[in-house]
Symmetry: D2
Subunit: 246 residues, 4 copies
């Protein structure tokens, strides 16, 4: 059983009628529903307006994969929570950053990079599968078309990704590394570009398939351990010898 | 002209007689002297006990490559200074983290990873050149022997490096990725393992050669720019078109 | 069911008494036995002295993962067979190159690099797990000790590996990237250093565990397809538009 | 002085009037002229119809960087020449594969991968600089527009590149990793997508700038050595010790 927590700042849904219409249960609600189609996933929803910003010690301690959607509320997330998330990722928790979460505190902290990009509203996107063998691309065809999506364009201020699974083509003339994987400590990270709040992206069956794939890919094989700390000196019996001429 | 600042917490030198004996001018002083052999390097020294912890806005604004040695004083470094260093690296400043700086605030912040490792005092190290074509390995032979050095062992909690230039062999039975490169924003980063304070590592001619090589490698080709920020929307004339059926 | 073929040149076993004593059923026989402990593996043995050098079209067409041990008979392997192996790897077949197979025709053809290394007989090796989360490292401790093994040392003439899972420490003073992964076309490749013919390496329980892990990791998720060929022009309906001003 | 040889199969120029019109001196002639603007480049031209297919032992032995344009004549290139090129790249010669050279014998041999891609005639391309700090991108703006170019689309059957410098956007809806770097042995390799024979790509000032940048990047720092061969056993004095309990 993989325990997934879908976190959403849940602000646009409350403040913008057009977003509320697309996501009456919130972006988190729609994503959670999509994940619940897998019997091996135990899915919890969490939002910024909950106690402990939705992620108490207990919730985090029972999360194997954390999905994150945030945008205008990035600055509202507690720094202490960001540190707890980082520690848990280092211990093995998977982390999936969606769309504007490229500028979220947890993602930037884990990347160590600016995470900036180029953007513009209202493009058509063709999302290409550039690594068809990758587990996150399983069951998809050659590409997915999104009739309307916010354009995100290169250069994308990330570290060299381990794998680039998807690349986005935008009608306005831009390209983007739309699905990238990273590892930080024992944890696996997936950044996925589609998901602007005013477009019904997370209702798209293939986008939902990608999210299900990504959760299974990011889940730690042997559970989440503690954050690694600097190991003590190795007891001398384990050392083969200590000096060149010993 | 490449402007280098050699920063050192400069604590061991003042508190431990054996360290002071090895480095009467401080670790920073010895490194600075080694760099001054290159006429194209303008070298400044900076220490934790100076005003602004040695790195005022002006000093940082005039630094192309920052070398960092820290150990017991990691926690004393101002968080605001760490952020300024990170921003400048993102803008293009090179950053060279030496030895125990693997746990320094700037390095960990730039890595986004635990940076933990295994250690033990007093080993013999053979430092292998595993990427002989790398600019940082220029002018070296096949390996360097260090009669005594602190053992640092794998697993090393870093992200996948762009290049592994050196690997360390320790007589006690451990191996380590002793010289690794990374990129964060526009800045180049080099981590280099040798340099325990009680061993005269930075007096070693080939270690000095590596540091000179690393500074030249890490220097930004076109100066340091500003930290990248999220670009504005691209003016419409640049967009090829905005909708599929436009 | 994963169909594994364990290929061995099987020369030393027939010509050297000490090797025959260690591997009375051949290196392939010992490895095959270790793999047969997994009920999901269907294991076949193949040797150079069989018809079609052990790998007829039919055998290859029914192989999901090919394990390769070769040494003094590299030059005897048919070039046409090498091309068929390469094609099948490109189509998705996993390929595991053991020890001296670093200089085998299939491995070098797939790498595109010299694959050279440094070597010396008769060292003690400590094999470190440097990527404990990697599926190939599952169920192992921190390291494995091999009382006697041929030393393989850096620099190792490979392309930058996707992952370095193991690193070897040798008592003579050398280090080596002893377990590396690569991808070529749709196929996954694992190079694994231990396994000199005069040492009983493949009888070691943890080495056997690594081989079982590697086979499961290298197996293609959705079977082996055909070698990719240059796709035809995409029919025009799929193109969004063909000219800037269309 | 960097010695560059620009090799071209030079077939289209002789058989197709429209190509001859664009490149009256051949594709190689236009590229060579662009490179000769740099006083530190010594530029030679070589074509398939010359003796030794343009690349005698002597020519190759005096080439630091080899540029390759081929298309319909891939199969005509001698296998022995391909092996000599591969050896020299392993020894340190830079290799720049242009456009349809993705399917050339030398490039595929060096990659070890299928190198297949998707294609279609007659698109508009916007070539994005996605790694603005890379030496090959020096002096360019954010992107280059090519009014007409053959579309090359993902998935591109290469191994994970070391760096992706350029990404192409095509008006028909495709994306491509248009500028990628690799290392094979001591040699640096750059693949660059633009350059269909019926389009005047190599007359474009910024494309010429990219080629000049790429030659300087690919040139070996210390000349080209011999192809690496398996080193002999290390003489015993260099070994720290040979057995655990020695």
């Amino acid at each position: 059983m993989i325990r997934v927590t879908v976190w959403n700042e849940n602000i646009h849904e409350k403040e913008m009628e057009n977003v509320a219409k697309i996501y009456p249960k919130g972006i988190h609600g729609t994503i959670a529903e999509a994940l619940r189609q897998c019997p091996d996933l135990e899915v919890r929803e969490a939002t910024l307006d909950m106690p402990y910003q939705g992620l108490s010690d207990e919730v985090l301690a029972n999360t194997d994969v954390l999905i994150w959607w945030g945008h205008c509320g990035h600055h509202l997330v507690d720094d202490a929570l960001v540190e707890r998330i980082r520690s848990r990722v280092w211990g093995g928790m998977g982390f999936i950053a969606l769309h504007s979460a490229h500028m979220s505190k947890p993602f930037r902290t884990l990347m160590g990079t600016p995470c900036t990009l180029r953007w513009r509203d209202g493009d058509f996107e063709r999302l290409w599968v550039v690594d068809p063998q990758h587990p996150i691309a399983r069951g998809l065809g050659e590409y997915i078309e999104l009739e309307e999506e916010e354009m995100y364009g290169e250069p994308f201020g990330i570290s060299n990704p381990d794998d680039v699974v998807f690349m986005g083509w935008f009608s306005g003339g831009e390209v983007f590394r739309s699905g990238c994987t990273f590892r930080r400590g024992a944890g696996k990270i997936f950044y996925f570009q589609p998901g602007h709040e005013t477009c019904p992206i997370y209702h798209h069956p293939q986008i939902q398939q990608i999210l299900r794939n990504a959760v299974h890919w990011a889940a730690p094989a042997d559970g989440v351990g503690s954050e690694p700390t600097c190991p003590c000196a190795i007891p001398s019996p384990e050392a083969v010898r200590k000096h060149k001429d010993a």
